[in-house]
Assembly symmetry: C2
């Protein structure tokens, strides 16, 4: 089992929604915030190629009339397993510190691929890790504040704030899943 890049996971996730070509995927990256994971053909086509070589997706020529040949990809059984395993991995402090966007990407496709129960589990686990991590960050800010210039202090504070906002988000999101479970009206 080789490592899959962030871009690879983004592609694999999008292919879980529906079969798409490289060009389709590019357009999605170009027009949505998913574009943070590269939108250039020089990244996407090789990434699809790698996924195919690893047996995680399979592309087939779409016979659709007109135009140039179009290869449409969909995840294989193995690709689905691998994606789900990645999504449902335990959340570490390290994920929080260095891979916050990966965490959000993992969550993005939860409903499609792992179900709402897993989504809720993910959110409560995320909340827990944030509650463990935030105090240490605040402590760091507090103990270094005196020897930092205003701009540095504010930059650090911005980091604290964004984690705090993430915690608020994960809590409010969790209640939405709870409502849903109870067969409630609301979204």
């Amino acid at each position: 089992m080789k490592e899959i890049s962030l871009l690879g996971h983004a592609l694999l996730g999008l292919l879980h929604q529906e079969a798409r070509s490289g060009y389709d995927l590019r357009k999605i990256f170009a027009s949505t915030p998913m574009g943070t994971f590269s939108d250039s053909p020089g990244a996407i086509y090789p990434a699809l190629q790698r996924l195919e070589n690893q047996g995680l997706v399979r592309g087939q020529l779409h016979p659709t009339s007109g135009r140039r040949r179009r290869r449409v990809f969909r995840p294989t059984a193995s690709g689905k397993r691998s994606f789900r395993a990645w999504q449902t991995r335990a959340i570490s402090q390290d994920d929080l510190k260095h891979r916050a966007d990966e965490l959000m990407l993992r969550f993005s496709f939860m409903d499609e691929t792992a179900g709402p129960a897993q989504a809720a589990r993910f959110l409560s686990s995320l909340s827990r890790e944030l509650r463990r991590y935030l105090p240490s960050l605040r402590q760091l800010l507090k103990s270094n504040a005196s020897q930092m210039r205003l701009s540095g202090r504010l930059a650090l504070e911005s980091g604290v704030r964004s984690y705090e906002e993430l915690l608020r988000w994960s809590r409010s999101s969790l209640t939405k899943y709870a409502r849903k479970k109870k067969g409630g009206r609301r979204t």
Copy 2:
């Protein structure tokens, strides 16, 4: 003028505060949130080497007793110019979308390298760009919400929220600079 990587700019910024060795820099990356820009010797030493080859920093053997030789780096005049130019570049929508951490890094060292007036200018420019960008993001969320699953919608919402939080931060930070300018008490 070659391109300088994010890590390179982070190093250059830290060297503006005081002369440091590669090892010193590593320790900082290892113990603070600056560590998001890599903390491995395999990245730092080559990056310092490149900065030196470009004439942006100069390292000299620190004759300090004991231990192994220690090369201590400091920015050259050209390195200072280059850093300041990078910091004070205009803020684009694209910076906001794809390079938010670069923006924060640019701001982190403002006081040391460009002065509080530039810091304030940066913050108001950031606010302005955020006010221009946020509506389009909210629009995207609104128009796609109906055809997305809950997890996807929430992930997008998290993106909106983090930009909103950044806007709140930049405003509150700006008032702190304003207070400072007026010779006020508070930090």
